[in-house]
């Protein structure tokens, strides 16, 4: 009964955001082609106050569900997650303009014959997608891997609306795959699979920010969990190749590879990863040239960005500084290296490689000066299947802090 009540709160909060968001552009809803206008007659334009109240309600109900996760039935969990996914799928793009950048890069390559690794969407300023690309990203070449860029190419000829629906469908399918693989991995480890998928799939940042923004992080997560599932089935070659495929969507997931190799110590992992790297290098170079395979350059560029939500920025403010300085970037990188070296050593000596990979992803999230909500999702599917429960508590704690940091507008007086 209580679980049903909490589930209703999740659904109501999501529906409130989607229905209000369907009315169109606001501070939280990016300018977008009208894909959810048919939902627009019921709500009011989405403002910070309503959004934050819905987000906090969602988060509170999610905490309640976490406490009950061990008692939930399989049917309950699947119906709840399917309903949350469908509500978000039917609605507008929430909070982020990233999906329009994905489409712009695809259209640069397919419709205009341009290399998205060499220039930003500004080069197609006359294209109908351009007006929807975020201001900060108009001059920025794609930072995503060549596999993702190639995956997005078939959507380009569908027009802006068609491509947007395509991106939403990709995110939905990737999320479903992530949850199915999380279920499978939890069962392999004799953990409660229902609890595992509820913790991931009903997570407020996963649903509202990750799925709501149709972020390609969900595709990366699906490939990450596929790699873990392959390892659990003893298919080390496929696991190594799948991690590389994930890194060719978004490079971050490559951090799994050293932990997997150290723990498994199977030649097949190395051969699988090596073969995938070789294939990707040939295809990436053939299609995009040297810039398409230079993921390090893209990572270095993004590592220099600073967002107001990042923990280093918050700590800088706490210390009375206006923000992070170049020296802080070096200190953070040094801290991250220390953490990774410690985790590699622990993995070599028998620590759970899944947990070690999750800790590394969480450490990247916490030390990054460029933090967005969906980055806090990276370690979550690993955390629910890790042998070390501290990872799950730490991941949820970091997410909670991220949500708390959004609440400042609620505390200001009404204008």
């Amino acid at each position: 009964m209580l679980a049903a009540l909490l589930a209703l709160v999740l659904l109501a909060a999501t529906a409130e955001i989607v229905l209000d968001g369907a009315l169109g552009h606001s501070a939280l809803i990016p300018k977008s082609p009208d894909i959810a206008g048919w939902l627009g007659g019921i709500g009011e334009r989405l403002g910070f106050r309503v959004f934050l109240i819905a987000l906090l309600s969602f988060s509170g109900a999610y905490c309640g569900l976490l406490a009950l996760a061990g008692t939930l039935s399989k049917r309950f969990a699947i119906v709840l997650l399917a309903a949350l996914h469908l509500i978000v799928f039917a609605g507008p793009i929430l909070i982020s303009t990233d999906v329009f950048s994905y489409i712009a890069y695809a259209r640069m390559g397919v419709e205009h014959g341009l290399n998205p690794y060499l220039g930003g969407p500004i080069e197609i300023a006359h294209d109908p997608i351009y007006r929807y690309v975020g201001q900060d990203w108009k001059h920025v070449a794609t930072a995503y891997g060549p596999l993702y860029t190639l995956l997005s190419y078939p959507l380009a000829p569908l027009g802006v609306k068609g491509a947007l629906w395509g991106m939403k469908l990709e995110a939905l399918l990737a999320s479903a795959a992530t949850l199915a693989l999380t279920w499978r991995c939890a069962r392999k480890r004799d953990l409660n699979p229902v609890a595992a998928i509820v913790i991931v799939g009903a997570n407020p940042l996963y649903i509202l920010y990750g799925l709501g923004g149709a972020h390609n992080d969900l595709i990366m997560l699906a490939l990450m969990m596929a790699a873990v599932a392959f390892t659990f089935s003893g298919r080390d070659g496929a696991a190594g190749a799948t991690v590389v495929a994930g890194a060719l969507v978004k490079a971050t997931v490559a951090v799994l590879l050293p932990f997997m190799l150290l723990s498994r110590r199977r030649p097949a992992s190395i051969f699988g990863a090596g073969a995938a790297v070789a294939l990707a290098a040939v295809v990436g170079y053939g299609v995009f040239g040297v810039h398409g395979i230079d993921l390090i350059a893209a990572l270095n560029r993004d590592a220099a960005f600073v967002s107001s939500d990042s923990f280093p920025t918050e700590i800088a403010h706490l210390l009375g500084k206006p923000g992070v300085f170049p020296v802080d970037h070096d200190l953070l990188k040094a801290a991250l290296v220390l953490i990774v070296v410690h985790l590699l050593w622990r993995t070599w000596r028998g620590y759970d490689w899944v947990a070690a990979s999750g800790w590394t992803l969480l450490a990247i999230t916490v030390t990054s000066t460029w933090l967005l909500a969906w980055y806090t999702l990276w370690s979550l599917p690993l955390a629910v299947i890790a042998r070390d429960r501290r990872l799950l508590y730490a991941t949820l704690f970091v997410q909670a802090l991220f949500i708390v940091h959004q609440t400042a507008p609620l505390l200001a007086p009404v204008q």
């Binding site: 392999k188 480890r189 390892t231 659990f232 089935s233 003893g234 150290l262 723990s263 498994r264 110590r265 923990f311 920025t313 918050e314 700590i315 403010h317 706490l318 206006p322 622990r346 070599w348 000596r349 028998g350 620590y351 759970d352 490689w353 916490v366 042998r387 501290r390 730490a394 704690f397 970091v398 802090l401 708390v404 940091h405 609440t407 400042a408 507008p409 505390l411 200001a412 007086p413 204008q415």
Partner: protein, 161 residues
């Protein structure tokens, strides 16, 4: 940890000292390593929590001040306009702000604009107007466009005419 794994080939690492050899599973120890890690994690969590709450407090204070800036502009000009622009002192990191808006009804920045420099703490929802200037229509608040300056010059916002 060894989900469906075969036992590892230990011979390859048998020449290594015992403490350097890889393990299939962690050895049951005294839990000292786990205790150290947990302590460090708790300390990190406290630091992040304090930094987050402090940043929310800071942001709330800034939001409170910006809302007072807008209200002050409306009270001083007698115009209940909502499309106002606020510029913060990003270089000097002071609490001084400049609020600009139209002097007559129209689209944002389409009329002669009046800019007010706000200083001091928020008192009864308002701030003190220290100085100001006018701007012609359809321009940004750049030094060269400012005219009809009044009040003492504000550091960081020179007003030449």
């Amino acid at each position: 940890m060894s989900d469906h794994a075969q036992p590892i080939e230990q011979r390859a690492f048998s020449r290594l000292p015992k403490w350097l050899r890889p393990r299939e599973l962690e050895q049951e120890g005294t839990g000292r390593m786990r205790l150290i890690e947990t302590t460090l994690l708790v300390l990190a969590a406290v630091l992040l929590a304090v930094a987050t709450v402090d940043d929310v407090r800071l942001q709330t204070k800034i939001n409170h001040r910006l809302i007072a800036d807008l209200r002050t502009w409306r009270v001083h000009t007698g115009h209940d306009y909502h499309n106002l622009t606020v510029a913060q002192d990003m270089h000097g990191h002071t609490t001084r702000e400049v609020v600009c808006g139209n002097t007559t009804p129209g689209a944002p920045k389409e009329r002669v604009q009046i800019c007010l420099v706000m200083t001091g703490p928020v008192s009864h929802g308002l701030r003190r107007v220290a100085s100001g200037w006018y701007l012609p229509p359809r321009v940004e608040d750049l030094t060269g466009y400012r005219y009809g300056c009044f009040g003492p010059p504000a550091a960081g916002w020179p007003c030449p005419r």
